[in-house]
Amino acid sequence: MNTESRAAAVIEANHLDLTFQTNDGPVHALKDVNLAINKGDFVSFIGPSGCGKTTFLRCIAALETPTGGSLTVNGMTPDEARRNRAYGYVFQAAGLYPWRTISKNIKLPLEIMGFSASEQEERVNKVLELVDLEGFGGKFPWQLSGGMQQRASIARALAFDADILLMDEPFGALDEIVRDHLNEQLLALWARTEKTIGFVTHSIPEAVYLSTKIVVMSPRPGRITDVIDSPLPKDRPLDIRDTPEFIEVAHRVRDGLRAGHSYDD
């Protein structure tokens, strides 16, 4: 890696370890993880369940504390980065508060961070438009479909203008058709906002379609087995998935997953 790209790295992990002490003995959730994510990257983490994808994302978000190695976010510790509002986090479930309207849900981080009422209003309108939910601000979560709820939760994560968006299987619970649509929208949103995105998935097509960089992981201990820089262009219509380039990348991901011996048990 040359010095220039190193300078641009917004997330950098060196020899990162995380061992959970459980009643059944230590669990090596992450072992010797080395990774640099550059500004504007769309990085997917793919691997069988239990390989540490969530744990790695949670380390970046300072929700877990690594037991070894170093991890910086925007050149700071994850804790400092969080206090500087470096990232928005999207969980697998939308997790909207049922007692708040969509607008009020999006205002939640803004209220906590102390934005003025007029600025809150302005930002809510902006992000509602970004996720294509104009006109739904006054609705309660139960009045929206699952896909719309997940879009609202993405809007909530975007509201305070963090540069990094961390998403842990955000579309995992949605059906294929809704998912395709949301993937397309997510790419458009990424192009418009130029955010750096960390995206956990266990779908190979989803990872290849979305990412500029695909991180293949394998379990026991959780580690990175391959990092693939995608040769696909930034502009990706849905039918790019039928091109030979796409299929070749998908092959490489599948090989990486197999090499991790992840399916022998």
Partner: protein, 305 residues
């Protein structure tokens, strides 16, 4: 419509059973009265009648059955007797009268409400403490549970005596007993409610670097509202029981408890039953009112459709 029919059927069955039960319950007394009045009853000797079962008496004296529903001091008053008594002591009495059931219900209600407010406030405070402090969780909760295992009927006289000795009487001792019974469901429900947000919702707030009070006001408290209302409904019924029990040991002159007590002193079973029904009606109204408030609050919060 189907529901109404079902409810009416059950009601009719209960009333029917009640009338039927009056016959064996009251037959002995009726026969004694009738004999005194000069009627021929079977068997004629009071001693023989005592040895004969109720159903034997009914079989031999079927003419006396209607009278079992009209006694002045029956062992079990008939439904219409209770209804008439309630009518007389509510609609036909000024509510300032000492014999008005509404006046007595109001006396009990005011102690109930005061106790309910104190109990609910205390319950919520304890729950907040328990959720936020591990020490309180370990120390308060067992005592709260133990407190509810002591029979209130044993504790009530002590509370009243102790408070009287420090110069407190009137509504407050009753309210204390009310509060004692109503705080517990509120503690249990609120602890559960405040703990209801899952790990993901708590993590979400951590990603915003939210502090403890933001976590409480924006997440834990609103999430606990459905639990709170459920506990309040149990709590208010317990409050009413507490207020009535609080009127028994003092020989209070006013309140539904006092009516129950006076009724049993003077063998006025009709009065006892109408006080009981007034208490049940009051409880139903209070719980129903809370249900209405619950629906409108949760609806406004967007938590009910």
């Amino acid at each position: 419509m189907k529901q109404v029919i079902a409810v009416l059927t059950v009601l009719a069955a209960i009333v029917g059973l009640w009338y039927a039960a009056c016959v064996p319950m009251n037959i002995k007394g009726v026969l004694t009265e009738q004999e005194r009045a000069g009627a021929q009853v079977q068997p004629p000797s009071a001693k023989d009648r005592r040895d004969l079962g109720e159903f034997g008496l009914i079989a031999g004296n079927s003419f006396a059955i209607p009278a079992t529903w009209e006694q002045a001091r029956p062992r079990l008053p008939a439904p219409h007797q209770v209804a008439v008594e309630m009518w007389k002591t509510t609609v036909q009495k000024k509510i300032t009268s000492k014999r008005s059931l509404i006046y007595h219900a109001w006396v009990t209600l005011s102690a109930t409400m005061l106790g309910f407010v104190i109990g609910t406030g205390l319950g919520i405070l304890l729950a907040v403490g328990i959720v936020h402090s591990r020490v309180m969780d370990l120390s308060v909760m067992p005592w709260a549970i133990v407190s509810q295992t002591i029979p209130i009927i044993a504790l009530a006289p002590m509370i009243i005596v102790v408070l009287y000795s420090v110069g407190i009487q009137g509504i407050l001792p009753k309210a204390v007993i009310s509060a004692y019974l109503s705080f517990f469901p509120v503690v249990v429900g609120m602890v559960k409610g405040l703990r209801s947000p899952d790990a993901m919702q708590l993590d979400l707030l951590r990603t915003y670097s939210a502090n403890g009070s933001q976590r409480f006001w924006k997440l834990r408290l609103p999430a606990s509202m459905p639990y709170l209302f459920t506990s309040l409904k149990i709590g208010i019924a317990a409050s009413l029981v507490g207020a009535i029990v609080g009127e028994l040991p003092t020989g209070a002159v006013a309140g539904l408890g006092a009516r129950l007590l006076a009724g049993s002193y003077y063998g006025q079973t009709v009065q006892i039953w109408s006080a009981l029904f007034a208490a049940a009606l009051l409880a139903a109204c209070l719980v129903g009112l809370l249900g209405v408030i619950e629906r409108s609050v949760l609806k406004r919060m967007g938590m009910a459709q």
